[in-house]
């Protein structure tokens, strides 16, 4: 044993140390490339953040680093525009839309994924078609309809449709529900549960990550929506959301880049925080819904 080790050791050691060095160099090369790409990828955001701290004059120069850190920029933003009210409007729009989407789209998705009926495939195709409609296409027809209902100028034309099912969410949730094993549903049926009972007690608890993913998507989509709120509330500033407020901020305050960037950071912050805490269940959600 001892002799064998003695004889074999030097050879193996040189070999493995060479291999180790090669591995180490490869490791460095890979990480250098990865980090460089990640930095390049995130540079625009870093730039936004740094500009948000600059003085008005410095923001117009090529400087990358703030000479002095202007923390008061973030306070100034609140003085220049009623950000809190915009925030409230955005929150109303996003939260109500998300709730409405969950109430309406989950049963529809369940019907498309789990109930067998004639025309199911066609109904699913129709949902996909609805998903592919560019918002600009339906903007005019829908605006005409909502104007007749006297609701233009408010956010309701954007919120109410979500209570009647949102095609994109129906699609996501259906993909997820398909991956739930049929045996659970059959077992509940044999036990005499109604379809709604099955949905409420079996399917929804199992589908939580998928629903979380769909809800997060909905929240993000409505929070960042600029076209919709601009179309319906453009003329009534009292109902503006953050996105519309941010855009007007630029024009009213003659491109004060530092303040614009500070406002951008403030608008982004809630979704970033939300995402940081939700990312695990979000990925979990797509993980299952991606199947099939």
């Amino acid at each position: 044993m001892a002799i064998a080790t003695h004889a074999g050791a030097p050879l193996t050691r040189t070999k493995s140390s060479q291999a180790k060095r090669r591995d180490f160099l490869a490791w460095i090369a890979l990480h250098a490339v990865a980090i460089a790409m990640a930095i390049g990828f995130l540079a625009p955001l870093v730039f936004v953040l740094l500009t948000a701290f600059m003085t008005d004059q410095q923001a117009l120069t090529k400087d990358l680093w703030p000479q002095t850190w202007q923390w008061q920029n973030f306070g100034a933003v609140f003085e220049k525009a009623p950000l809190l009210r915009y925030f409230g409007q955005s929150l109303t729009y996003s939260v109500l839309s998300t709730v409405g989407m969950l109430i309406s789209s989950v049963p529809i998705a369940y019907g498309l994924a789990r109930l067998k009926w004639k025309g199911r495939t066609w109904a699913f195709y129709l949902v996909i078609v609805a998903m592919m409609l560019p918002p600009q296409v339906i903007a005019v027809p829908m605006y005409v309809l909502w104007a007749k209902a006297g609701l233009t100028g408010t956010l309701w034309p954007l919120i109410i449709p979500n209570f009647f099912g949102d095609a994109f969410s129906i699609f996501l949730i259906r993909q997820f529900l398909i991956s739930i094993p049929q045996s659970y549903i059959d077992a509940a049926r044999i036990d005499g549960a109604s379809e709604l009972g099955i949905l409420w007690r079996i399917v929804i608890p199992m589908a939580k990550p998928g629903l979380a993913a769909a809800a997060l998507f909905m929240f993000l989509r409505t929070w960042n929506d600029y076209f919709g709120p601009l179309l319906y509330t453009g003329e009534s500033p009292a109902n503006w959301t953050l996105s519309v407020g941010l855009a007007s901020f630029r024009s009213v305050h003659q491109v004060q880049w530092n303040l614009t960037m500070a406002a951008t950071v403030l608008v982004m912050l809630p979704v970033i925080i939300l995402f940081f805490f939700a990312q695990k269940s979000f990925i979990e959600g797509i993980k299952l819904s991606g199947v099939k």
């Binding site: 498309l112 109904a123 379809e195 941010l246």
Partner: protein, 312 residues
């Protein structure tokens, strides 16, 4: 899972069939209650589309609101014979196609990196996702001014550092500009979906492959890629749908100049600047048809290229 197999007795079988019949009847009854609501809901999602189709058959210009009348397929004739449709279709295919492919490749790269375990992974993931969380309108402005401006833009500054001359991105290379910005914005989305796919891959199979002497590249090519197929499909489908609808960057950065007038921008222009509701609606219906076509073709052909004509 039990390993013993229970042989059911005759009575048990009989009871089971009876229960089965009863449950089928009951299921049919409860389905009968649910179905109308379901069909109704699906129809509701179609309201915007149906209204759009109806409007596309009207002769309706906002400048002459008194002259709304039924025009059959006149608007479609304008769409297909007019000078705008083909260039716009070309711009849409180029911009959507390149952005989808580039963001998919970059997304795959980042997903593979973020799939490894390391300290601060949660933070790194959140950071890499931020471009997708930024308001598209704000992101477009950041790109237009802070990054790509001829004089004070960061990209030209970086080019200058390596000794290259400045490029007027927004005016000289509008298509490249839009593709760059859309790729930046949608890479995190692709990454998220592919990351979910990577996480659902069984570690044991990968370890077995590595024990059998397969290198990392071959493992990736022959095991991970085929496993990711479904995820790549869904990322491509959702990505192309969202990218086909991309509007804010074009409206803010190029206003449809220099070959960036995609279908979604063109129909916005028709509806809100030209105020021709009927024609805009007709463009919309055609856009939906194109979207379905592109999504179908993209999904079929992509995989032949992607997975070396692998199984299926």
């Amino acid at each position: 899972m039990t390993t013993t197999i229970e042989v059911p007795t005759a009575t048990q079988v009989h009871r089971a069939t009876q229960a089965g019949i009863a449950h089928k009847k009951k299921a049919r009854a409860s389905r009968a209650l649910v179905l109308p609501a379901l069909v109704f809901s699906v129809i509701l999602t179609q309201v915007p589309f149906l209204v759009t189709i109806y409007f596309s058959l009207l002769n309706w210009n906002q400048l002459r609101p008194s002259e709304i009348k039924f025009a059959w397929f006149k608007n479609y004739a304008v769409v297909f014979t007019g000078p705008d449709f083909l260039p716009s279709l070309f711009a849409t295919v180029v911009i959507t196609g390149s952005s989808v492919i580039l963001s998919l490749l970059l997304g795959l790269f980042f997903a593979v990196l973020l799939d490894r375990k390391f300290v601060g992974r949660g933070l790194a993931r959140t950071l890499m996702i931020t471009p997708f969380l930024v308001m598209p309108a704000a992101a477009a402005l950041i790109w237009k001014w802070s990054l790509l401006d001829v004089n004070v833009g960061m990209v030209n500054w970086a080019l200058h550092l390596v000794g290259l001359s400045a490029i007027a991105w927004n005016t000289d290379l509008p298509v490249v500009t839009i593709i760059m910005m859309l790729t930046w914005q949608y890479t995190p989305f692709m990454m998220l979906i592919l990351l979910a796919g990577l996480q659902s891959q069984s570690r044991e199979v990968l370890e077995a492959a590595s024990v059998d002497g397969a290198g990392p590249w071959r493992t990736f090519q022959w095991m991970t890629l085929p496993h990711l197929r479904q995820y790549i499909e869904i990322a491509t489908l959702l990505g192309s749908i969202m990218l086909l609808q991309a509007f804010d960057p074009i409206a803010i950065m190029t206003k449809g100049t220099g070959g960036t007038k995609t279908l979604s921008y063109l129909l916005y222009e028709r509806a809100f600047i030209g105020l021709d509701v009927g024609q805009a609606a007709a463009f919309g219906v055609v856009t939906v048809a194109v979207t379905i076509g592109v999504a179908t073709i993209a999904l079929r052909t992509l995989f032949k290229v992607f997975i070396n004509g692998g199984e299926r």
